[in-house]
């Protein structure tokens, strides 16, 4: 295994995250079984106090997961010199079969942790903790996923072999080849643009409708959630070309490097914020009828909607600005 300091740091962080989320899940099981708000018994008081601990733990989990996600990508990127054929993170992640799964798990866990915190925040604002059991049930899904992420990430690092020749993003995301990345890259540009802008438009318009009238919540949430993978695919299919100004360079990772002004970070951060907010709205809709949440839920959902719209507009704004600014012409 390559004993890079960053790898040591990432493994350490993952272990800490696993420890924390398993502890949270463990306490959560007890709460699911024994919670009874109307009882004044000491056990209930102990459980109530433990909810503070779990909330705090999960807040830190989210922050560390986000940090770990970006550190992971950056590390993969900076290690490309160690592998023949790799020019950026795309190649490094391809070195063994655990690289991309680790990345996808990390992204998933960031989104789930964010959703949990939204759920938790709403539950804590109501005077009778109406969502408490569901909340900790959700934790029972998140904790194993974080464990899985740690395992896969460790496998990725331990299986890494410097003698393996890997592909560079140019070939991974090229138009030939039968892999998924190249299939995405090979999407006809006009269709990809149409898809991207139409989902964006649907999200923005349903979001505005929802924000001001409280209707079409499901549509907005679904559309907002859909936009995340669509934007990702769109990036590979055509947006990247405008940033790199090369007809063959479609890598989603190179845009995080210095020579492109690190623009990738705000782009992907905006996408993450947007998808968490959009899915958060959908997550809360089934609970609108609970009396104790009646005053809180709509306000929270409105704020989430606004957050999503701003985030996705930022993404679209940066993208369109680049498309307009650059001399690179894709369509006549």
């Amino acid at each position: 295994m390559i004993l890079h300091p960053a790898i040591v740091a990432l493994v350490l962080v993952s272990l800490l995250l696993t420890m924390m989320s398993l502890a949270g899940a463990f306490f959560g099981i007890r709460i699911i079984r024994r919670w009874d708000l109307s009882s004044g018994s000491e056990e209930q008081l102990v459980l109530e106090r433990q909810t503070y601990l779990i909330s705090t733990i999960l807040s830190y989990v989210l922050v560390f997961e986000i940090g770990s996600l970006f550190l992971f990508i950056y590390t993969a990127d900076s290690m490309h010199t160690l592998f023949t054929g790799a020019m950026c993170a795309a190649g490094t992640l391809y070195v063994d079969s655990y690289g991309y799964p680790a990345l996808l798990l990390k992204i998933l866990n960031v989104i789930l942790a964010g959703l949990w915190l939204i759920f938790n925040g709403v539950d804590n604002r109501a005077y009778d903790y109406p969502l408490i059991r569901k909340k900790y049930a959700m934790l029972l899904i998140l904790a194993p996923l974080i464990l899985a992420e740690t395992v896969v990430q460790t496998l990725y690092f331990t299986r890494m072999n410097a003698d393996v020749i890997t592909s560079c993003c140019g070939s991974l995301f090229s138009l030939e080849g039968g892999s998924l990345p190249s299939d995405i890259a090979a999407l006809p540009v006009k269709a990809a643009m149409a898809g991207f802008f139409s989902v964006l438009g649907l999200t923005l318009s349903s979001g505005l409708v929802y924000r001001f009238t409280g209707r079409l919540g499901w549509l907005f949430s679904f559309s907002g959630g859909l936009f995340f993978p669509v934007a990702g695919a769109a990036f590979i299919a055509f947006i990247s070309l405008y940033f790199y100004e090369l007809p063959t360079h479609r890598c989603p990772f190179c845009v995080l490097q210095r020579e492109y002004g690190y623009i990738g970070y705000p782009l992907y951060a905006a996408l993450l914020v947007g998808v968490i907010c959009a899915l958060g709205v959908g997550l809360l809709i089934p609970f609108r009828n609970i009396s104790s949440l009646a005053g809180i839920l709509p306000r929270v959902q409105r704020k989430l909607t606004l957050g999503c719209l701003l985030a996705y507009l930022t993404f679209a704004g940066i993208t369109v600005l680049q498309m307009v600014r650059t001399d690179f012409i894709l369509l006549d």
Binding site: P5, V8, L16, R49, Y52, T56, G67
Partner: protein, 379 residues
């Protein structure tokens, strides 16, 4: 709403600062240990990363490809006639023979690298030596260095000059000499060279040309510069990683220490929290104060640790690590490493220090925050 939140945080931070200053003794010792841990890890990391960068910079000037000859799987001097053969391959811009070798000096038990430079070679019986040699053998310009040849005869060389200190990392043990002296000293065959340095027109074709060389001259092995860069990179990374793994023990001790400090509330502190809870602060409020405590301590300790490590490595040449590193070679270069610290390293150090500290203090903070105000009533 937002301004209310901001005011709240401002008031809490005020309170936290005042509270930290009220317990100077306890917090100073925590700060000292914390900063020390950051200092150690940061020094290790800055040193290895900077050296990795230096090596890469130096290797930039290395030949793109070197062709060595193998005899029975082991290294053998390469025939000079191979130079023309390599030059004939399409895409090769130049091919030049290199003469260099190792010389073991029993006086100080060190290996020198003897080399005939491609241009400006010293005159006959004159040598130019690296700083490591001149320091260790205390030989300077116009002094005489005696070397024993393969034939058993001692040859004397006058030091014509020293290699400039900027490249000490690679030149500390270097001796430059004339070609005739070199061949005489080692009894090196006239029709052979140590290896051949090759440069090509198009970088992308390097691999193809290397293959062609191997095909054309089956007893040779081409070595690419990027392979060397990669090897050095992974060695330095590995060394840095090993240091950090060793320091993980220190990190674990630190985490336990942090836990103890955070848990060990004096009776006064417990009372204070109880009073706060009694006058209307919630558990969440106390946890926020505790979180700010951790944040402020982390911020100061991390900053001080990083800055002192930076100074230690780049201005004082990592003098604390020298005893451990000296064992790696006799001729330790005395060089000023170019300062190199980027946000990436800071992020890694953050993950290795602040994160474990924060995790170690979550449960103690919580236990402090849930203190019953009831207990205050009955005290």
């Amino acid at each position: 709403m937002i301004s209310q939140w901001i005011e709240r945080q401002r008031l809490f931070i005020d309170f936290t600062l005042a509270s930290l200053l009220r317990r100077k003794g306890k917090n100073l010792s925590l700060f000292a240990v914390y900063a020390l841990v950051v200092f150690m890890l940061a020094s290790a990391m800055f040193l290895t990363q900077a050296m990795k960068r230096e090596a890469a910079l130096v290797l930039k000037d290395a030949p793109e490809m070197i062709v060595q000859r193998l005899l029975g799987g082991r290294y053998d001097p390469i025939p000079m006639e191979y130079v023309e053969k390599i030059k004939s391959i399409r895409g090769v811009v130049s091919a030049a023979p290199r003469l260099w070798g190792y010389y073991y000096d029993p006086v100080i038990g060190a290996n020198y690298t003897l080399m005939v430079p491609r241009s400006d070679a010293p005159a006959s019986e004159k040598i130019v030596i690296g700083n490591g040699i001149s320091r260790t053998r205390m030989i300077y310009r116009d002094d005489i260095l005696s070397l024993r040849g393969t034939d058993g005869m001692t040859r004397s060389f006058t030091v014509a000059g020293e290699i400039s200190p900027e490249s000490e990392l690679v030149s500390a043990d270097l001796i430059l000499m004339a070609e005739t002296d070199f061949r005489g000293l080692f009894d090196f065959p006239a029709d052979r060279a140590t290896d051949i340095a090759v440069s090509v027109r198009n970088q992308k074709e390097l691999l193809t040309i290397a293959r062609k060389v191997a095909d054309l001259l089956p007893d040779t092995r081409p070595i690419l510069r990027e392979e060397m860069v990669r090897t050095y990179d992974s060695v330095f990374d590995w060394r840095g990683g090993i240091m950090i793994v060793l320091l993980l023990m220190a990190l674990l001790a630190f985490a336990i220490f942090a836990w103890e400090k955070a848990s060990g509330l004096s009776a006064d502190e417990k009372r204070e929290i109880g009073i706060l809870k009694a006058i209307g602060w919630e558990t969440a409020d106390v946890m926020i104060v505790k979180a700010y405590e951790g944040l402020l301590i982390s911020f100061f300790s991390f900053t001080v640790g990083i800055l002192t490590a930076y100074g230690h490595v780049f201005f004082f040449s990592a003098f604390l690590f020298v005893p451990a590193m000296k064992g790696w070679s006799v001729l330790y270069p005395d060089f000023r490493i170019t300062p190199f610290a980027d946000p990436y390293q800071v992020a890694i150090l953050f993950c290795l220090t602040v994160m474990p500290y924060t995790v170690a203090t979550i449960v103690p903070s919580w236990r402090a925050a849930i203190i019953d105000p009831d207990a205050v009533m009955r005290s």
